[in-house]
């Protein structure tokens, strides 16, 4: 037997040990409260904003924050909740529907660790959920659409019912449009979101445009979030039909949507959630509970803002 295995084994073992030591070093036995933030959705823009705002506030409060991203795996959220409960953190902040992580909530309750929702959902085992009012946001944009088209004409909806917070928006818009007898919903599209949603929404919208070539046959596009609205905008511009006055609205007002709205084209409105506000309010709420306060409401809404061309660049 040659020395290859032996030599490389020790070299590799050494490397591993060095890495391990570095990890322990970085785990820095810091002072202050230990807070675990667990989310399957960290790669999404909104989530990043409030996680960053939460971290910024937590730094001021002198906390030690551990951000855990399970990359879309909800069962792993439960697992990590169990892990940090065993570790004994001071509080857990969740960014996932609590109905799906009941076992994790049980573990936290058993370990006497308070759990907070950051745009998550309501559950008796959660001290408070800090979020935007999804009903209100959807009402703002759908009413905006209804008013702009004078309460009459065909509307294309982009929805995503698999994700509860977005499903709520679609339900509200359905109600608003139904309340206008002359508004017809031409199509209720669920785009494929695996590539972010823009590309597939554009493709779907192009098909709808092709099927409805008459100017005025489509009055508006209402999207439950910004990416489909952007896709629809691209489709309309590519088809050369931007002059027909098709009204597009989104929700969330992400930077790309703000640019489009500021350009004064078909994309007219979106609603901005105050992500920073959600993040910092969550941190403040955690601080209040850790300070001994008892909360009355278990949902705390952070105000939202309608974005149009007049304030898109603020």
């Amino acid at each position: 037997m040659t020395g290859i295995t032996r030599r490389s084994f020790w070299r590799i073992a050494g490397l591993t040990l060095a890495t391990a030591v570095a990890i322990v070093g970085s785990a820095a036995f810091a002072e202050g409260e230990k807070i675990a933030v667990i989310t399957p959705y960290l790669s999404q823009p909104g989530t990043q904003f409030y996680v960053e705002a939460f971290q910024a506030r937590a730094k001021e409060l002198g906390w030690e924050v551990n951000i855990i991203d399970t990359a879309g795996d909800v069962a792993a959220v439960i697992s990590r909740m169990e892990d940090v409960s065993a570790q004994g953190v001071n509080a857990i902040v969740l960014n996932v529907d609590p109905a799906q992580v009941g076992a994790g909530l049980d573990a936290a309750v058993a370990a006497n660790i308070p759990v907070f929702g950051m745009d998550a959902g309501a559950d008796p085992r959660i001290k408070a959920n800090i979020t935007s009012n999804g009903y209100a946001m959807a009402a703002e944009t759908s009413v905006y659409v209804a008013n702009r088209i004078g309460g009459a004409g065909a509307v294309v909806m982009f929805v995503f019912d698999a994700f509860p917070p977005v499903q709520v928006r679609g339900a509200v818009a359905d109600a608003v449009f139904k309340n206008h007898p002359d508004i017809t919903v031409l199509d209720r599209v669920t785009p494929d979101v695996s590539d972010g949603g823009i590309a597939d929404s554009r493709a779907k919208m192009e098909a709808i445009l092709a099927a409805n070539p008459e100017p005025g046959s489509i009055k508006a596009v209402w999207a439950a979030w910004d990416q489909p609205a952007l896709g629809a905008l691209q489709a309309i511009e590519a088809a050369g039909r931007q002059g027909e006055g098709i009204v597009i609205t989104g929700i969330d007002a992400n930077p790309q949507a703000r640019d489009a709205i500021a350009a004064d084209g078909n994309f007219e409105a979106s609603v901005a959630q105050d992500f920073q506000g959600i993040g910092s309010t969550t941190a403040d709420t955690v601080a209040r509970v850790l300070g001994g306060e008892t909360l009355k409401a278990n949902v705390i809404y952070v105000p939202t803002k309608l974005i149009t061309s007049s304030n898109a660049k603020d």
Partner: protein, 323 residues
């Protein structure tokens, strides 16, 4: 010494990881409670990886297990929502797994499509079917019967420990039973030995009187059933079902089997080694989370450990060949 390392290097490495966390987390890692947690967290992955081992023993693999787990979960949930009794819904979900597995088997063994291509295609189909069945929605809340959701939280009481009731989680129990079953089948039955022979040399096995086509087909059915069972366990654990929730199981399961293979004497898949691979991955997740290591750093480290184990094993093998 070198041969000792080659044979037991991976096992020593796995043990070293455990010891490392034990030292780094003296109070919370090496506790019965934490290990029961880990076992429960890994139960679904164990079921998928262990049944995946059945096809990997033949040198095949199945990319559709994750999508199948998602599909069986939503099938069960949709049937719950229709008001069917829990046992009926579960039986149908398992039957879906069996049929999907048979479909894979037919494509691979009778039609002769490469497993990579065949199961890649069925993966896409199962995933599409999961979206169709569920209408793209997450099924949760009142649609999921309490008894089904409670199953994942129940367990076998083992007694009291330091004043707390210690419970062997039901999901852990299921994973243990599946592991034992597959281990017996692969190691102690004619069926299993013939699968290993196919993996050793399919042509030779056929000429020695092994019904290669039938066995390959049935092995894929096995794996499909395992994936479906894992999907049901997953749905019970999260008390909900959505059309993508099992997808992540596939790559991790394959990684676990490969990791396990580095620990066996002949470098071939083996059920117990697979379980060791799953546990290693799970312990890394658990320990690194407790150490508050950033989750992205954690991913990089887990991948690095897999590469490390496979590299050591490959170097060991090359050293033997050069002899």
């Amino acid at each position: 010494m070198a041969s000792f390392l080659r044979h037991y290097g991976s096992l020593i490495g796995m043990a070293a990881i455990v010891v490392f966390f034990w030292i780094a987390l003296p109070d919370t890692f090496m506790t019965l409670r934490n290990w029961l947690n880990i076992s429960q967290q890994l139960s679904m992955l164990i079921v998928v990886a262990v049944t995946m081992t059945v096809v990997m023993v033949m040198g095949d693999f199945d990319l559709s297990v994750g999508a199948m787990a998602s599909l069986s979960g939503v099938v069960a949930a949709v049937l719950f929502a229709q008001g069917l009794p829990v046992p009926v819904a579960l039986a149908v979900a398992l039957a879906v797994g069996l049929l999907g597995g048979i479909a894979n088997g037919v494509l691979v063994s009778l039609i002769g499509i490469l497993p990579f291509v065949a199961t890649l295609a069925t993966m896409t189909m199962f995933s599409g079917a999961a979206f169709l069945v569920s209408g793209g929605k997450t099924i949760f809340g009142r649609d999921i019967p309490q008894e089904f959701a409670d199953f994942a939280r129940s367990g076998l009481p083992l007694g009291t420990w330091g004043g707390n009731l210690v419970v062997l989680p039901a999901l852990t129990l299921v994973a243990a039973v599946v592991t034992l079953l597959v281990w017996i089948v692969l190691e102690h039955t004619i069926y299993g030995r013939r699968l290993y022979a196919i993996g050793g040399n399919a042509d030779a096995a056929r000429l020695a009187g092994v019904k290669v086509a039938q066995l390959r087909l049935s092995a894929f059915a096995f794996t499909g059933m395992g994936a479906a069972l894992a999907g049901i366990m997953y749905a019970s654990r999260v008390a909900s079902a959505n059309p993508v929730q099992g997808d992540g199981l596939m790559l991790t399961a394959i990684a676990a089997v490969f990791l396990g293979m580095t620990a066996t004497r002949d470098g071939q898949p083996n059920v117990l080694a697979t379980v060791a691979g799953v546990v290693t991955l799970g312990v890394m997740d658990n320990g690194l989370t407790q150490l508050q290591v950033d989750s992205y750093v954690r991913q990089v480290l887990v991948g690095a450990i897999i590469l490390l184990a496979v590299s050591i094993s490959a170097l060991g093998r090359r050293a033997i060949r050069l002899r």
